[in-house]
């Protein structure tokens, strides 16, 4: 096996070794797809045509039926009606296995990597033909050669559980490319990547479509990505086809119009000036804590967040942001240093959190901010269930007022749920995020710490969440915003800091913020 002759030949070699299928892009056409769940029609007579070697974007709001359509194509659902044609032949896809046999692969929004296996083990075991005994020295060499062709580096020898969201997402994409798929469905693949990484990944994928190696169907909400990389789009709205066309014939405004109809987007509050004498709410001094590998430490020398300002922390995932948030949330022990909220030492106990009105919006909120199997109403009551009338500790849980409170929040934050009594894990990602936001932003907020609050959310949800964060800021909350989305930081922050290798390496007020400079510091050139 010659794997050192450049990227193209090594990909082909891998593919032909792994898959008996013919290499090269395949076209897919789905006609008249209808999917009913009981009386609810999730997908209503939708047709989509993705020619071989094209880069097709699928747009739509939460619940528009994008996932349903894709799951029908991938064999997870059996559509009520409709046909799928691949390469000119009608095919029956009854299971995900059928789909992969046909060369269809998908990168899911929820990670499908096995947490306790290393990256290398995850890649190898996901192949169709795994040898009975795995010769790791050979596999490692092949993987190293394969990773040479990838635009980013990933640690393949640590368990996946210790990777940050962004690294997991990259590994998911790498996995599909490694499996040599001919047709790739990407479900919001760049939500946690830096702009540079996102362009790299999509550029790589785009290059492969142009060389006729794969066909891509991408679910996305980022118009600039769609405009830059996709050839054609299909837009769904409330389960129906709302429009389609070639990207070069459409403006962003046209696409947004098809996507959301005539609903106005939530606009950001205009930014109130930060009072010059605003008190620091959060101050961190000489903090150090071990990172998740236990080998490196994160060190925050000096960080202040004042009332009424948003301090954004930029950084490539895996540079200590996750650990920093965990320390602030009380999930990880600090080894040294001083964390103060309103000048008093802060250890993130429930009492301190409540007294100082500290609120949290962590990343992967279903895991980090919810009890997945408890109901929506119970999850919404986590901040309040143990407080009775007049702020005294409650003795009995008041189910009725919990329900009433939850119904109010669900209405106010437009959480889409079948019932207040359904488990919160049954909600879609965007709605879990909305529910957490509803809980955290209700009541007085003096300090808000958010980490990637818009990961995996659609256009109007993102606009709404950003508007709410800005509103909290204008109401006097100190906001610490950690995000891997530079656009988000530039839109919201008053100051931007860059975290690299566990240290805050750069700071700039928003007025002088420059994407290139920030990007250089993120990449470790400082």
């Amino acid at each position: 096996m010659s794997i050192n002759e450049g990227s193209d030949s090594s990909l082909k070699t891998l593919r032909s070794a792994e898959a008996p299928r013919k290499p090269g892009a395949i076209g897919l056409e789905a006609a008249g797809m209808t999917m009913r769940f009981g009386s609810f029609t999730a997908l209503d007579n939708v047709s989509i045509k993705v020619p071989a070697g094209s880069f097709h974007a699928l747009l739509g709001e939460n619940g528009a039926g994008k996932s349903t359509l894709v799951k029908c194509i991938m064999g997870f659902y059996h559509p009520t009606a409709g046909q799928i044609v691949i390469g000119g032949h009608e095919v029956a896809i009854d299971s995900p296995r059928d789909a992969s046999a046909l060369g269809l692969g998908m990168v899911y929004q929820h990670f499908t990597l096995v947490p306790s296996l290393t990256g290398a083990e995850n890649l190898v075991i996901s192949r169709e033909h795994v040898p009975g005994v795995i010769d790791w020295s050979v596999e490692r060499k092949a993987l190293a050669a394969f990773m040479e062709t990838m635009p980013f580096k990933l640690p393949l020898d640590v368990p996946v559980r210790s990777l940050a969201a962004g690294e997991k997402q990259k590994l998911e994409i790498v996995k599909q490319l490694y499996l040599g798929r001919n047709f790739l469905v990407l479900d919001e693949p760049t939500s946690v990547l830096t702009p540079g990484e996102a362009s790299e990944v999509l550029g790589l994928v785009r290059g492969m479509t142009q060389r006729g190696e794969i066909t891509v169907l991408m679910i996305s909400h980022k118009f600039h990505e769609v405009t830059a990389f996709a050839d054609e789009i299909t837009v769904l709205r409330r389960g129906k086809l709302a429009g389609s066309g070639r990207v070069k014939d459409l403006t962003t405004r046209d696409m947004a119009g098809m996507m959301i109809g005539d609903v106005p987007l939530a606009a950001l509050d205009s930014r109130l000036a930060v009072a010059p004498d605003a008190k620091p709410i959060l101050s961190v001094k000489a903090l150090s804590a071990p990172d998740r590998s236990g080998l490196k430490t994160i060190r925050i020398a000096d960080l202040n967040v004042r009332s009424g300002e948003i301090v954004g922390i930029a950084g490539i995932s895996g540079n200590g942001q996750k650990e920093f948030v965990e320390v602030l949330a009380g999930q990880r022990k600090k080894t040294a240093g001083d964390i103060r909220v309103k000048a008093a030492p802060y250890a993130a106990t429930r009492g301190e959190t409540r007294e100082n009105n500290v609120r949290f919006i962590p990343e992967e909120p279903l895991q980090n901010a919810c009890a997945p199997k408890m109901t929506v109403a119970e999850n919404l009551a986590f901040r309040t269930f143990d407080v009775g009338q007049g702020g005294k500790p409650a003795t009995w849980i008041d189910g009725r007022s919990i329900k009433k409170y939850a119904a109010h929040l669900v209405g106010a934050f437009k959480v889409k749920t079948a019932s207040l009594a359904s488990p919160i894990s049954a909600l879609s990602g965007g709605n879990v995020q909305r529910a957490v936001l509803a809980r955290e932003l209700t009541g007085e907020v003096d300090l808000l710490i958010c980490s990637n609050p818009c990961f995996g959310l659609d256009f109007s949800a993102v606009a709404e969440i950003r508007a709410r964060i800005m509103k909290a800021r204008n109401a006097g909350a100190a906001v610490l915003l950690l995000s891997e989305d530079l656009d988000e930081l530039l839109e919201l922050s008053d100051r931007i800091l860059v975290m690299s290798d566990g240290v805050l390496v750069y700071e700039t007020p928003i007025a002088t913020a420059n994407v290139m400079t920030i990007g250089e510091h993120m990449a470790g050139h400082h």
Binding site: L113, V114, P115, S116, I125, S126, V130, G132, I134, W136
Partner: protein, 307 residues
């Protein structure tokens, strides 16, 4: 010197005891490691062990071959494992509850079928006399190593290797850690767990057959002193690592041999307190290795105790 080696008898007796006592722990805990790595707990291994002891003994009595006894015990263990795995595939069935039920079932069934075999004596499993070079009887006794111990040691290394280096090993870990990921790969978690539980049952039953065919070497209703249950705890203690299981079993066996060893050199007072040594030791190590700041390392994500 040739008839008395003084205090040297204590470590020798502990070594010999460790090898003798640890063998069933090794087999049961290795079996449970396979089962738990696939995401399921089989607490019924105590019942499987007792039934294996009975089946092995009975078969050895009837056929005259201890090896056929081991084989028969393994087959019985497979049946128990398959039964557990089959029931647990149904939704809303709790594997721990089923395990406890199967434990009682296996013991009851063993006593029922085993009544006629309490009297007759069966041929024993062979031992390899690694102490041939010495004329000291204690050395010879301590170094007379039963064949199953050696097989168990090799098996521990083989399993440790297989969990990393074979397809089957990785599949078991995938299923045990994330059923969703397994399904996305086209694996059926229930099928994998069914086989993993069957293999676990077979190994537990072999551990039982060791009790009746080597040490103590007869079939009685009180043959097991909870080895099947203790082995499940050993697996957690060993953090689901086969080599850890082997070491933990050896440690446990050695601590268990402390009481008899002291007794043999003439300590008459309080030696029975040392019978509690394995449990005290386990507690101490658990406390020493526990950490409030990190999760139980190595715990399979699908296990019902960690979910």
């Amino acid at each position: 010197m040739s008839d008395s080696i003084g205090l040297w008898g204590v470590p020798l007796a502990i070594l010999g005891g460790a090898i003798r006592v640890s063998t069933p722990f090794i087999f049961v805990s290795l079996g449970e490691t396979i089962t738990e790595r696939s995401g399921r707990i089989n607490l019924g291994l105590e019942g499987t062990l007792v039934f294996g002891a009975m089946t092995g003994y009975a078969t050895a009595v009837v056929t005259g071959s201890p090896w056929l006894g081991i084989l028969a015990a393994a087959c019985a263990g497979i049946l128990f494992g398959l039964f557990h795995g089959w029931i647990c595939k149904f939704p809303k069935v709790n594997d721990i509850a089923i395990g406890i039920a199967l434990m009682q079932f296996g013991m009851g069934l063993a006593f029922f079928f085993g009544k006629p075999f309490i009297q007759p004596s069966a041929p024993h499993l062979p031992a390899i006399p690694f102490g041939w070079w010495s004329s000291v009887p204690q050395v010879q006794a301590a170094l007379s190593v039963n064949v199953l111990f050696i097989i168990g040691a090799l098996l521990a290394v083989a399993l440790w290797w297989a969990f990393r280096n074979t397809r089957v090993g990785l599949i078991i870990r995938v299923v045990g850690d994330s059923a969703d990921a397994a399904r996305a790969m086209g694996l059926n978690p229930n099928t994998v767990r069914l086989f993993a539980t069957a293999v676990g049952g077979a190994l537990a039953a072999i551990g039982g057959a060791y009790l009746s065919l080597y040490y103590p070497g007869s079939w009685t209703e009180g043959i097991s002193s909870g080895q099947g249950l203790m082995a499940v705890a050993l697996v957690i203690f060993a953090r689901w690592n086969p080599i850890g299981c082997f070491a933990a079993a050896l440690l446990f066996g050695g601590a268990g041999a402390l009481g008899p060893a002291l007794q043999s050199v003439g300590v008459t007072q309080g030696y029975y307190l040392f019978y509690a040594a394995p449990y005290v030791l386990t507690l101490l190590i658990m406390v020493a290795t526990a950490s409030p700041s990190r999760q139980l390392a190595g715990a399979p994500g699908e296990l019902s105790i960690t979910k």
